[in-house]
Assembly symmetry: C2
Homo-oligomer: 283 residues x 2
Amino acid sequence: MSHSWTVPASSALRARALGPIASFDPESTPGFDGDKDSGTELLAERGRALADLQELLYANGRSGDHRSVLLVLQGMDTAGKGGIVRHVGGLVDPQGLSIKGFGKPTPEELQHDFLWRIRKALPPAGRIGIFDRSHYEDVLPVRVHNLVPRSEWEKRYAIINQFESELVASGTTVIKCCLVVSKDEQKKRLAERLDRPDKYWKYNPGDIDERAHWDDYLEAYQAIFDLTDHDAAPWYVIPANRKWFSRLAVCELLIDALSGLELDWPKADFDVESEKKRLAAAG
Amino acid sequence: MSHSWTVPASSALRARALGPIASFDPESTPGFDGDKDSGTELLAERGRALADLQELLYANGRSGDHRSVLLVLQGMDTAGKGGIVRHVGGLVDPQGLSIKGFGKPTPEELQHDFLWRIRKALPPAGRIGIFDRSHYEDVLPVRVHNLVPRSEWEKRYAIINQFESELVASGTTVIKCCLVVSKDEQKKRLAERLDRPDKYWKYNPGDIDERAHWDDYLEAYQAIFDLTDHDAAPWYVIPANRKWFSRLAVCELLIDALSGLELDWPKADFDVESEKKRLAAAG
């Protein structure tokens, strides 16, 4: 018998249901009772369900429905955000995705409020948007290093809540996933990047500097969960030491979000029978 | 024994090596001696090769290399352009793709020259761009229906050649694929869209009207091949009655384009040994 979720991912991984992030176990697989093999097998199966739902969303988007889904990915360096884009995003038609990575803001971006570049990258109707990092960077490194005065970053939580509730009101389903690796696992992954010439390009010396601020980052994440985890735009905390689990979990959360839209195939905006006749009569 | 290409796809499918498009056989599988099963099997295998090359391109793009690849897809309605995006694009990391579909120009686009919207959508460094329709629409429906005066569309072939040679000179490898279905096969595919409620959204009554101009479109495609098929930005003609073959062929052409870049993993822009020491010393 195949293993599966004993508790729905959307309950088992919800940020506010968990204890403090500092005592979270990145090796765990909350809600799932299977091992790597059964998880990998289930991902392939659920991937097909995700692809079907994505096509429904896309079809509706092409037919005038303005809804979209936005998956926000956050997490420490090496937590596997890129792997989620590749291995979960890769399960669906790439045409239906709108992927955007947010790095250090450009000079142009810095001349605008912090949500400017975010708003520009929101997914069009019918798409699944994936943000690899996001507006939450503006309360993560920005907070840890006080890149703007505390009085400014402190206000951002409320601004983010306001922004996200507007987003949801205008038809975007928002789910936010924080991938959590342990400090040891991060060290292992950084070491691998330094050991393999085909991984050098992923290595950034700055990652070691950021590692020194590990606890400050945990505190900044805790503040995010405390202040911005709402039912309308929930935060999920994804243990990410086991990549197979984090991929399975995010896939499941996306399925849950898409299922919530209760989509059906768009009705024909033409007369089917008369089109059939026209086609039969055509050369 | 597995079947494979008896002639490289880049030779067997090159537009200028073929006779007139009007006598082209959309059922054929030029250069490939296998059937559907062996073609499907080969696609899975070659898909992994494509994914590896795409990762190399992406890695180089992230490390300062400005090169990119652009796949231009054209073809009659129902020829399977979307299927190529899904099934060939879907073989690689979606993060490395830059997909853009071009529909009827918007009022804003019409206020600019016809290449304006094209230039805005060119792939960033390290990406594989896929254009689902392209600037060639401006010498296809535009020519067939004289949406601009003949004196204007006639000039566009030279403008396109100039544009593409600039593009190539600035580091974008361009390959152009025209998917060709037979008129009978199109009728079958349109009928299927009218028979299946899950396909209504793909049906457009205008497709029947365009079908009445079939020969004019063939003539317009012939002009494109005659005037814009250059070694620097070649046209390939892909028989598309058999979807498995068109997907296999485009995958192979992409592999060929990427291999031509002779990419290697980017060198480290940091001192590997001293970073190893820093990491070991870090907490």
